[in-house]
Subunit: 363 residues, 4 copies
C-alpha cells in the first residue's frame, strides 16, 4: 500500500445532524479516532451560524471535545461542505431523504444512520463486522447516478445490528437458518433526545417501539443475504423467517435481545456454537481498521450475563456480547445478546464502515 | 345455600411467613377481604414472640393494617394455629416443605405460594381463574394422608400465572396449542426483600432468574392439562412445547411477557382471538368469589399497552392485561401480557383459591 | 345546616386543561368524590370536539372513569360551561392567565392550580389544610370585579404545599419562625407530560427546576402570613427568610423535602415539636370536608422514613408525612417531609379548597 | 530527585478487601496507574486460596484486568504481603480495625478507605487535593508505635470528600467559614454490594444513611483544620458549625450535595467565589502526581449542572464539579456540587494519597 493511500491520510469529516444525540456520539467517537478530523458540522437552519457549543444541548457523558466547541454550525447544503472527504449523517429520517441524496449527487461519500435508503437495492445496508461484501454495490450506485466518488452506505437499525452478528457467524459455519424469534429490551438512548418521556419509562416498560419490528424483520434478511450476480442489487434471504418483538426499558445504553433460533439443517452441539461465536472474525479486523473490535463477539460464561451496565462497553462498544447459550425446548438454540445501541448500533458502525471504505480506496 | 355454609362464615386465617414480602401482601389483601379475618401469624423463631409491627420491616405502600400491628408472631408449629380455618403460606421454599406438610398432616387446609409441592401429582397447582377443576385431586390427597379436612393447594410461579390465562382461553376455544415461546420482563418485587441488589438493576437488566425458566415450562403443562380418570393425579399436556426466557427489569410490580404461539390446528383470525380473550370467564366468577376479577382478561386496543405502571392494578391486580395481539411471522399469533406478580401471581391467587374452596365447601 | 345547603348538593364541575396530567388527576379524584360530578371538560382547540377518551393520552395508573370517556371536550370558553357550579383549572401557565380571568369575570368560582394569580394580593393562595382563613379575601375580589358568585382561589406550588404544613403547625404553637433552609427532591410527575426527558433523569439528578425556588420562597411567606385589616389584601410574613434548593429526582410521585429551621424565640424540645405536629388540625377537618385527611401531618418514628413509594398515599395523598425530626447543629431543628405532589400538591388541594368553599356557602 | 527515588519506582501494591466493590475499584484504578503494580490481594478466609476471578462477583463496568484474574487471594495477614511497598485497604469497618493495625505495626504504609482510624488525632484524614499538609502527623504516628516505615493514612467519607474541596478553596481565599448546611443525594454504589435493596430505591428515596451525618459533620472540621504545633495531633476547626442531611437516591455513581454557607467575615461577590473555585490548585498537582486532576474544581456555568451521569467523570472522577453558585437568601452563598463517590470519594483518594506519599519519600 503506497504512502499516499487514503487509509493513511487523515480524512476530513462532515457531520450532518450534528446537534442531535446521534451527531453528538459521532463527534465523540471521531474526536478519538486517528483516521478522521471533524471538519464541518451541519444542522437545521435554526442552529446554523452558531458556534457548536451554543447550538447544542450536550447529553454525552464524555465532555464536548475542545476542537468542536467553536466550530460554526452550517445548514445541510453540500456547497458548505467542500473540504470534506466523508460525510456522516445522524439526520432524522424526516429530513434525511432529501439531504443525503443531495450530498450523494454532489459526489460525497455518505455514511448514514438514517433509515431512508436502507432498503434500496443498490445501497449497502452494512453492519461493518458482518457484510462488507455488500460494498460491491457501490459501483452500480455510482453508475445509476453518474458519480465518480459519491455513494451512500447506511448502517442498520440499532437492534438489527446486534442480532445479525451471531446469526452471521452461525450461518457461515453451520449453514442457513430457518426461523428466528427475538424479543428486545431496548435502551432509551435509542430514541434520541428528548425521546422517551420519563413518565413513560420510570418503573415501567413500553411494549412498543413504533416501526421497529418490521425494520428488524426486513433488515436481517438483507444483511444476511448477498448481492446478485452483476452486483447491481442486494439479494435478501428468502427462506429465513424472523419475528421481532421490541420493548423499551429503563436502561440508558445497551440493547438486550433474547433470541431463539432454528437451523435449516441439523443443529450443532451447544459447545460448537459457542466456539463458532468466539472464533468469528471479519474483514474489517483483517484490514486493521481502527474501530474494529479485537473480539467481534464476546461470549460470556457467567450465567447471568450479558448485562447492559456491565457489558455495553465491550470492545469499546463495538463488540456484541452473547451469553446464556443453551438449547431451546422449541427451536434449536437460544441465547441473550447485548449490543451498544449508539456505538455498533449507530455512529460506531458508520465510522467503521467509512474506515473500511478508506482501506478499500472507495474514499 | 344454607346460612351456615362456609362461604358465608368469616374464616379465621393463619399466615405463615408473615413477615416476608409475600406474607405482607397476604396481610394487606386479607385485611380488605370480607371473607377472612387474620387470626394468627407465623414466622421464624427469630420473630416469634414479638408483636408483628416490631418483627416486620414493612415494605408495602399500603399502611400496615391496624388489626395485625399488635398480634404476637408465633413459630410455624401447627399447634399454635388451632383457631384457624385456613392457612396461607408465604414461606420461603427452603423451609416450606416440612412446615406445610406438618400443617396439612394436622388437617389444615393449606394454600401455598411456595414451589415445593407444585409438581406433586395429587396437589392442585391452581391459578384460580384457570383450572379450579384440579380441586378434584383433593380427595386423593386426603386419602393418601388419611385426612378429613386437610390438604395443600399451591398457586403457580408468578410468571406462569400470567401466561396460562390467555393460553387457557385460547385452548378452550380453538383447540390444543403446539408451541409457545415466551420472554418475560419481571419486576423486582418477585424476588422478595432484600431480593435484587440495586447495583444489579439500576440502569440494567439481569438476563437470568435462577430456576424460573424450567418452572414456567413445566407448570404451564400441568395447569393447562387435566386430571386423570380417577382424579388421583394430574395429567399434564404431552404435546405442547414451551420455551421461556426470563429477565429481571427495573420495575417495582408487574411482569410483562412477550408471547409467540402456534396452534395445533388452523389458527383463528386475530379478531376472533381478541374476542375469545375478552369473553373468557371462569368458575370463580360464576360462584361470586369476592376476589374474582370482573374481567379475567383485559384486552387493550392501544398499541403501546399493556404497561406495568398503568395496567398492573387492572381488576385490583387479579386481571391479566393482554395487548398487541397480532400475527406472528414465524408462529401464528403474538401478544404481550401483563400480570400483577404479587397479586394474581402470588398472594391474590392463594386467597381466591381459598375463596373458591370455601364456596365449594372444601373448607 | 339546611337540607338545601350547597354542601349537601352534588356540584357540577368543569375541568379546564382536562387532557393534561393535572387535568387527569382532577378527573380521577372528582370521580371518587361524592360532592362533585364531572360535567364539562375543557382543553385546547386541538382537542375540542373529540370524545375525551380520544383526545387524551391517559397516564394515570387508575383507569379512566367510565363517566368521562365519551364526554365531548370543549374549548375553554365560559359560554360552554353554563351548567357548572365550580371550575377546576389544570391549565398550563402559558394560557391560564386569560382563560381563568374570563371564567372569573363570567361569575364562575374558579379553583386553579396555575401560578398566574397566586401572588395577586386579593387572591387566596390556599393550602386547604393551612390557611383557609384567606378566603376572607374573596369579598374584596368580588367587589373589585363587580361579581356575585365568581372568584379565583389558587393552590400553591407543589413543593410549597408540603413545606407550609409543618411550618404552620409550629408557628401556631411556638411563635414566629426566623429562618428556613429547604432542599427538595421532586418527583417527575410534577413536570407534567411529556415533561422530563428520560435521558435527563435515569441514573441522574437534575439540580434545577426552573423558577421553582423563587416561587417556594415567596409563596411560603404569603401562605403563612395573614390578611390585612379590611381583608382587602394578603399580608405576607416580613420577618421570615427562606432559602430553597430544588432538585428533580427519578421518583414518579412524591416530593421529599429536607428542612432546617430556626425559631424567632426559644426553641421547644424535640418531643414537643413531634407532639405539636401530630396534634395539628385544620378547619376543613372540623367542617367534615370529604377530602380532608384524618391526620393532617403523619409523624413517622422509623428513622428511615418518610419514603416516597411507601408514604405518598398517606391520607389518600392529602396528609404530609414528617420524619427524622431532630436537632440541627446549625439551626434549631431539622426534619424530612413528604408530600404527594399531584394530590395535596395540586389537584387534591383545589378540590378540598372547593369543598371548603361549599361548606362556607361561597359556592 | 535521584533515579532511585520512590516516585520513579513502580510500587508493589497489596489490596485488602479485594473482592468487595471498593477493592474492585482499587484494582481497576491501579491497573491503569503507571506508578503501581497489583502484587497481592487479600480478602476473607472464605475467599483465600481461590483465584481472584473465582472469588469475586465482579461489578465494575470496566472488565476485570487480565493481570489479576489468576492471582490467588490471600487472607489478610501481614505475613502474606511481604513483597508489597504499599497497602490499600477497602476492608469493611467491621474488620478493618484489627487488620489495618496489624499491617501498620508490621511496618506497612497503609492507605485506608475505612472509617475506623479517621478520627484518631495522629492519623491523617486526608483528601489529597485538600489537606496533604496533615502528612506531618506521620512522624508522630511512627514514634508512637516505634515504626520505621509504617503508618496509616485514611481518606474521608465519600460525601465529605466532595464537600471539603470547595470549602477549602473558599476558606483559603476568603477566611474562615461560620456555618454550613448541606443536603446530600448519594449514589447507591456508596453502599457497596449487595448494599441497597432495589425495593428500597426504585421509584424511591431513602432519607437516611446510617451514621453518615455525624461522620460528615466531624470529618469536615478535622480536614479543614490544621495540625498542632508539634505536629503530634490534628487541630480541628472549633468555630465552624456544620449540619448535614444525607439521602440515598436512585443513581449508580456520583454524590450530589446542595450547600448553603455563611462566611465568618464579609462575603465576597459571587463572581469572585467562582473565580476562586476555578483557580484552586493543590500540592499533589504541583508535584505532578499521576492521579491529580488537571482541574481540582470544575465550575459549570450551565444552570442545570452538575448532573451525576454527565459530570461524574470530570477529571477521571478526581475533579469536583460545582455549579449553581448563587446568593443564598438565608446565608451568604449556595451551590450544588458533585463528587464521584468511588473515585475521589474512595479508592481514587487513597491512591492519590499514596502517590503523594511516594513523591514525598514517605514510602
Amino acid at each position: 500500500m503506497s504512502a499516499t493511500s487514503s487509509s493513511d491520510r487523515i480524512l476530513n469529516a462532515g457531520v450532518l445532524g450534528a446537534t442531535g444525540t446521534v451527531g453528538q456520539r459521532f463527534i465523540v467517537l471521531l474526536s478519538q479516532n486517528p483516521m478522521f478530523r471533524v471538519h464541518s458540522l451541519g444542522a437545521s437552519e435554526r442552529s446554523a451560524g452558531r458556534p457548536y457549543r451554543q447550538a447544542t444541548k450536550w447529553k454525552m457523558s464524555d465532555l464536548m471535545p475542545e476542537e468542536v466547541r467553536d466550530v460554526v454550525v452550517k445548514s445541510c447544503d453540500p456547497a458548505h461542505f467542500a473540504g470534506c472527504d466523508v460525510i456522516f449523517s445522524g439526520l432524522d429520517a424526516s429530513v434525511a431523504g432529501d439531504i443525503e441524496k443531495a450530498f450523494m449527487e454532489s459526489d460525497f461519500a455518505v455514511f448514514s444512520n438514517a433509515k431512508n435508503y436502507r432498503m434500496v437495492p443498490n445501497v449497502p445496508l452494512c453492519v461493518p463486522v458482518v457484510n462488507t461484501d455488500h460494498y460491491s454495490l457501490i459501483a452500480a450506485q455510482r453508475a445509476e447516478y453518474g458519480l465518480k466518488k459519491g455513494f451512500i452506505v447506511t448502517n442498520s437499525n440499532c437492534s438489527t445490528s446486534g442480532l445479525v452478528v451471531p446469526l452471521k457467524a452461525l450461518q457461515d459455519k453451520f449453514g442457513p437458518l430457518k426461523r428466528v424469534i427475538v424479543t428486545t429490551l431496548q435502551a432509551i438512548s435509542g430514541a434520541g433526545y428528548p425521546g422517551v418521556a420519563s413518565l413513560d419509562i420510570l418503573d415501567n416498560i413500553v411494549p412498543l417501539i413504533s416501526g421497529e419490528e418490521p425494520k428488524m424483520e426486513a433488515e436481517v434478511l438483507k444483511i444476511l443475504g448477498g448481492v446478485n450476480d452483476g452486483a447491481t442489487a442486494c439479494a435478501p434471504l428468502a427462506d429465513l423467517r424472523v419475528s421481532a418483538t421490541c420493548n423499551r426499558v429503563p436502561v440508558v445504553d445497551g440493547h438486550t435481545e433474547c433470541v431463539s433460533l432454528e437451523f435449516a439443517g441439523t443443529p450443532p452441539p451447544i459447545e460448537e456454537i459457542k466456539q463458532c461465536l468466539r472464533e468469528y472474525t471479519c474483514e474489517a479486523q483483517e484490514l486493521g481498521c481502527y474501530s474494529a473490535p479485537k473480539q467481534v463477539i464476546t461470549v460470556t460464561e457467567e450465567e447471568d450475563r450479558p448485562q447492559p451496565r456491565l457489558d455495553r462497553n465491550a470492545g469499546e462498544g463495538m463488540s456484541v456480547t452473547v451469553g446464556r447459550i443453551r438449547e431451546c425446548p422449541v427451536f434449536h438454540v437460544k441465547f441473550t445478546l447485548l449490543v451498544h445501541n449508539t456505538v455498533l448500533g449507530a455512529a460506531g458502525a458508520s465510522i467503521l464502515n467509512a474506515e473500511y471504505a478508506a482501506k478499500k480506496r472507495l474514499i
